[in-house]
Symmetry: C2
């Protein structure tokens, strides 16, 4: 009983919440002041196998969009991220870490370039809207910064493409990975991207217009019955195995992007200007002191990790696990952890301290975890 979630307007419902409730959702999380369904199947493992084999429909409306448009839009977006956004085409999605002047991570959204000087940042759990507003006001930029009425719905899993082609036509197939196109739905044009928070393939429909939510959900649901469709949500086993990191879990404002292995998204040669550049160049020069790594560890299926679990070598704490779960494929517990540079080599033996439970033997691994 201790894990009930008290509802209020502040914890915003989505256009799909009625539908997920009707389908028996068993729990929610809260992301960006909005409900994110977190459990449908009796176990995370059943959900995991289904996601890997069939197709699921996910209410990910909590991936709020921060819309930045106007004359100075590109300038503002570039200031916020170390990634060179001049390389982003219209119709492209780009993963862009956002940092502050200390190079601390503020968010790790996906940027969608809708037009020259017209962007959406599809955000993880922090109010990027307020950071962008503060910067725009402070700099006196000529931009509009707002949260539009857009409610992403993900269709994930190996059968996702076939299902969406069946509903929306064969053009869906032509959309490349991390690219987006447009579909017609009820007389409206809706954005669809080949993206999503799983490694099983699929799409995200960025629905504009809450009133169309029930209809969109039902259209996909009905058409999906032949494909064994089920309601779903980001699956913790699949996400950890696949090395998909989560803002607030694996990374916070206390971390810089190099610690999270995001070097390839950081242009540090001075060719672009962004907030935190000097600090990030310094860090790159001296080398990071900790980095995100996988850990495989013993024991029965572990409980939920809701506080960092200390990781030790001998008497020394060398890091902490921030997300962990039993992997049915690896037949072992697996976790994501921030680990001291002296102990981050693959195969390094460590001890994992699960609070109020026990200490387990483990070893450092790369991510994604590999067979």
């Amino acid at each position: 009983m201790s894990d009930g979630l008290n509802m209020s307007r502040r914890i915003r419902r989505t256009p799909y919440t009625d539908s997920v409730e009707k389908l028996g959702v068993r729990g929610f999380s809260v992301v960006n002041h909005m409900l994110l369904p977190k459990a449908f199947q009796p176990t995370v493992e059943e959900d995991y196998w289904h996601l890997r084999r069939h197709v699921q429909i996910w209410d990910v409306s909590c991936q709020r969009q921060v819309e930045i448009s106007g004359i100075d839009a590109s300038k503002l977006v570039q200031l916020m991220t170390p990634r060179d956004i001049s390389k982003c085409d219209i119709g492209q999605c780009m993963y862009v870490p956002i940092i502050d002047s200390d190079a601390g991570l503020i968010n790790d959204p996906v940027l969608l370039k809708l037009a020259e000087n017209h962007f959406w940042l599809s955000i993880a759990d922090s109010d990027v809207l307020l950071y962008a507003k503060g910067l725009a006001i402070g700099k006196g930029f000529d931009v509009s910064v707002k949260e539009p009425e857009v409610f992403p719905l993900a269709v994930q899993g190996p059968k996702a493409e076939k299902l969406l082609v069946q509903i929306f036509g064969s053009d869906v197939s032509k959309i490349g990975f991390f690219r987006f196109g447009w579909i017609n739905f009820c007389g409206t044009k809706q954005l669809i991207a080949r993206s999503g928070y799983s490694r099983q393939g699929g799409f995200e429909i960025y629905l504009k217009g809450a009133h169309l939510g029930k209809k969109l959900w039902n259209t996909i649901w009905e058409a999906g019955k032949n494909s064994n469709i089920l309601p779903g949500c980001p699956n913790l086993i699949e996400r950890i195995e696949g090395g998909l990191f989560s803002y607030g879990n694996e990374m916070t404002i206390a971390n810089n992007p190099l610690e999270i292995g995001l070097e390839k998204y950081c242009t540090l040669d001075g060719s672009i200007d962004f907030i935190g550049r000097e600090k990030l160049q310094e860090i790159a020069k001296s080398g990071v002191k900790q980095k995100i790594k996988g850990i495989i560890f013993d024991g029965d299926p572990c409980p939920t990790c809701s506080v960092p679990w200390p990781v030790t070598v001998g008497e020394k704490q060398v890091g902490a696990i921030t997300s962990a779960i039993w992997s049915p494929r690896f037949k072992s517990n697996i976790g994501l952890s921030m680990i001291n540079h002296k102990f981050w080599e693959k195969g390094q033996p460590v001890n994992v301290h699960v609070p109020n439970e026990a200490v387990y033997n483990g070893k450092i691994s790369d991510t994604p975890f590999k067979d």
Copy 2:
């Protein structure tokens, strides 16, 4: 089962979470990416009567502090709010609406002035940290903006003062309303303010140092046993009756402070400069088109309001209720609502549409609700 809350590191535990779990907390909300206990007693009504008669201890760590310090600190804080902060003494708490350039509310925190150019903003549910960072960077201000390790613990109710005097000494009595002083605890100096999110009186201890959390909780809990202390949390009946508004519920970024009745906290004569001033002056000149009001309405005890409930007069929607509950004192349902200016007079008959339930007769009331 549909209201379970899935736990993760991202939904941060507090130094008091172990204690509230031990005492049988029955539910949480999430505020500022942190757990807020939401239910202990079997009913909200039992909790309500207890709060009005005795003393309660509340984990309100989710009231995160945004610490702004440095040469330009006053300048930055003043830019963020229409309230004249030059009138704030060291040792004073001040309720300061924060707005953007469109005069939309970003938060409604309590400002604590620790020293010249050293402030805490004790925030409601939005990342003021990011707004302040954006502004500071954009303006090139010489300030530090961060979230310190401070975890407020509230002691509320008519017996709060006596209890805290017993534990921390008689100086606690000398602290005026919305002023703060300092207490000694385990060799540390801790800030204590006469404040809190109820109309029953009490204090908030802004504990610095998570490791002292359990000890502080237990010290108050043990000493409080003679005063019939219970664990508690902001009580929905008490808050609505008392006209305490909640950011995200009664107000969002779509509202300006004049709609929320915060005129007295807005200096619009041009003597201070802040973001959104021109827009707010315009709104003041033309008059607001809607305002927050109470509504008393018929029916059996109403369900939880998790989406705005339409309020109509004849065929016309004239507003919406955003929080509502059965009041045992008024023996009626009461709600807080945003109401069109043509229908906001006290006594105006309205209809309240509770989704999937019924339409009830109601009438407009002032807040706080009065006997």
